[in-house]
């Protein structure tokens, strides 16, 4: 039983779009002039060598960068036709609609049930919480493994299970977009595969943007890929963006080809 994410109002062709976006930490420009369009309900991967601003770029979508006091942004991120960085926009609401899964699983020190229910509860969920928890855990492919121990601590699960728990709690608040920052890099290969399968299932209902340093993973999983690189000032910029199989077989930019064939990075 799949349940759609928020039925999208059809303003905007893309799920989310960055227009001439630059992100700074005080004077240091971490990300430079990015123009990137993300297709709805597809998996888009962001790849590139380390330090080229992939995570910063990802966090720019849901204003998570702002948790660092010195961070600020220039340019626009358009979501439903509005600039997410508009001073009149509430970042709390932005983050509810654009969820995030982190590199290292970070469940709350609460029970498994509470982990999933908490976000929905504070956002005023009116329906049956039990049903929501079960639904979210099923969608995260975790239900069978935890259905008998819902009141045990979230920490009692393995790394891969914890990550799926984090995914479950993210989808419990019904976002439109799920950002994933190297979600499998802290996991063993078997758990990684499970996460990748999960991503493909989730893409039926949500738009997924995933940052990964693992090119093969990007090739396996994503529909679109964006390649970022770093210039001499350590600022990240978008080199090329397109459907995954095109980018990997017939890259348009020589730098992309160099990276893919392993000449650097």
């Amino acid at each position: 039983m799949t349940h759609s994410a928020n039925p999208l109002s059809s303003n905007g062709k893309y799920a989310i779009e960055a227009r001439d976006l630059s992100v700074y930490y005080s004077d240091f420009r971490a990300v430079k002039g990015v123009n990137l369009q993300i297709e709805r309900q597809k998996i888009s991967a962001i790849i590139g060598p380390s330090g080229c601003g992939k995570s910063t770029m990802l966090r720019a979508f849901n204003r998570m960068n702002e948790l660092v006091p010195t961070a600020w942004a220039e340019g626009e991120v358009l979501f439903h036709g509005h600039n997410v960085y508009d001073p009149e926009v509430d970042p709390v609401q932005v983050r509810r609609l654009i969820g995030m899964v982190f590199q290292k699983p970070n469940p709350f020190p609460k029970s498994i049930y509470e982990n999933v229910a908490w976000g929905a509860r504070i956002n005023g969920y009116k329906g049956s919480m039990d049903e929501l928890v079960e639904r979210s855990l099923r969608q995260a492919a975790l239900w069978e493994e935890v259905k008998d121990k819902l009141d045990q601590s979230g920490y009692s699960l393995s790394g891969g299970q914890q990550q799926r728990l984090c995914i479950a709690r993210t989808i419990a608040v019904r976002p439109e977009i799920i950002l994933m920052d190297e979600p499998a890099s802290a996991l063993d290969p078997i758990a990684t595969l499970k996460i990748e399968d999960l991503m493909r299932q989730l893409a039926e209902d949500y738009t997924i943007i995933v940052v990964t340093h693992n090119m093969q993973q990007a090739a396996r999983v994503s529909d679109y890929t964006a390649f970022f690189n770093m210039d001499e000032d350590r600022a990240g910029y978008l080199v090329e963006h397109g459907p995954t199989n095109e980018l990997f077989t017939k890259p348009k930019d020589p730098r992309t080809e160099d990276y893919i064939t392993g000449r650097f990075g």
């Binding site: 849901n62 998570m64 948790l67 709390v92 609401q93 932005v94 983050r95 509810r96 609609l97 969820g99 995030m100 982190f102 290292k104 970070n106 469940p107 709350f108 020190p109 609460k110 908490w118 976000g119 504070i122 956002n123 984090c166 709690r169 993210t170 608040v173």
Partner: protein, 402 residues
């Protein structure tokens, strides 16, 4: 050929010898050498560390020994009875005047220097065992007074509600109740305020706000308690009196002492809580924000519960500190034990009592001298118990995150 072989063998032999020499040299050079002064220093430093054990033993020894004296000391209470008829050293019965204290078989009594034990009683005629506890049986004149043994029993100590040394009443409850009352008021003031300050400092404050607040808290924690005592008497009491009326609030009362103790322990609560809150990993906060939670919701519903054991430890340590506080109550809470539940009355606490008694003329081995050690022992056990509990909690807390 033979020469060559011999040469080879001798060369080998030579080489072996040379090798042995070198090895012996090396071995000599690397051999462990004895460094007596290192051992001496090690020993001296160990003794330095052991001094702390001596201190604890000293505290335990001093408190326990004097408390034992307190409980085993002989107190004699005038029974308000007199011998009606003279008795000689052999008489087995006594005839007493009527009235006075009630006596029971088994009780120990004293007439002059002789102790006796009551075997049987029939109205005013006592059958006694003479020369009890090694005292000498002697003749006693008619009209001599009788004294009853009135040792301070543990039961009386722990359940009595009056402390009146002159008439032999040694119930510790007035002091304990007063101590608990001031400490409760102190914690009621310090915990909410301290926790709020800690949450503010760790989740909200800009570095400028922090640079003002932290020094203020440090100054507050460095002010000597006697200065707080002055403040309690000269300001807090006046404030309470003007707010609630001079009839409700006595000049010496436990409420103003309690509030000021709360101010004293506020920095302690706030710094321990802040440490606990800061120890919560940032990733937890990020997880909450990413789900569309506000800063307040994250702080209160995710961070504080995660730091709960550290905050609980802060709570317990602050109680312990409040219980042991002396000067503020000595100055502002009143002199004289008073079993009351009204915080606006004067009531001496355990610590205040100890200070008052030892500040006066105190002869060693008097009952007053012993009594302060008994109270001190109770105090010590209370604070020690609380501190041990809080350390256990902190240790368990650390396990969760490491």
């Amino acid at each position: 050929m033979q020469n060559e072989a011999t040469m080879a063998t001798s060369k080998a032999a030579l080489r072996a010898d040379a090798g042995a020499d070198v090895r012996a040299d090396v071995r000599l050079a690397l051999r462990k050498r004895r460094r007596p002064h290192e051992t001496v220093i090690h020993g001296l430093l160990f003794l330095c560390g052991a001094v702390s054990i001596l201190t604890t033993l000293g505290i335990a020894f001093g408190l326990v020994q004097e408390s034992l004296s307190f409980f085993t000391r002989e107190l004699w209470e005038d029974a308000n009875k007199r011998l009606v008829v003279e008795v000689d050293a052999h008489a087995g019965t006594l005839q007493l005047s009527s009235g006075g204290l009630d006596l029971e078989p088994g009780a120990v009594i004293r007439i002059d220097d002789e102790k006796m034990r009551i075997v049987q009683m029939e109205s005013e005629v006592l059958t006694v065992e003479r020369g009890f506890q090694g005292t000498e049986a002697a003749t006693h004149q008619a009209g001599t007074g009788l004294f009853v043994s009135d040792r301070v029993s543990l039961i009386e100590f722990f359940t009595g509600t009056k402390w009146n040394p002159q008439i032999g009443q040694f119930g510790i409850w007035p002091l304990v109740v007063s101590t608990l009352r001031t400490s409760t008021i102190a914690v009621l003031v310090a915990m909410p305020l301290g926790l709020s300050v800690a949450i503010y400092l760790s989740e909200y404050a800009s570095s400028r706000a922090r640079s003002i607040l932290k020094p203020v808290l440090e100054v507050l924690s460095g002010i000597p308690t006697v200065v707080y005592g002055y403040f309690a008497l000269m300001f807090m009491t006046q404030l309470l009196r003007s707010l609630l009326g001079a009839d409700t609030v006595q000049i010496y009362n436990t409420a103003s002492a309690g509030i000021v103790i709360g101010i004293l322990i506020l920095p302690l609560v706030s710094s321990m809580s802040e440490d606990a809150l800061s120890a919560v990993p940032r990733s937890l906060r990020e997880g909450a924000y990413a789900m569309g939670a506000t800063k307040w919701e994250t702080a209160v519903k995710v961070v504080v519960p995660a730091a709960l054991s550290g905050i609980a430890a802060a709570f317990i340590v602050s109680i312990s500190r409040a219980i042991g506080e002396t000067m503020i109550v000595a100055i502002a809470a009143g002199a004289g034990p008073n079993f009351t539940l009204n915080p606006f009355n004067a009531a001496e606490t355990m610590t205040g009592h100890i200070v008052r008694i030892s500040g006066g003329d105190l002869s060693y081995d008097s009952i007053d001298y012993n009594s302060i050690f008994a109270i001190g022992l109770v105090l010590f056990l209370m604070t020690l118990g609380l501190n041990v509990v809080s350390q256990r909690i902190v240790r368990r807390f650390r396990e969760v995150y490491e």
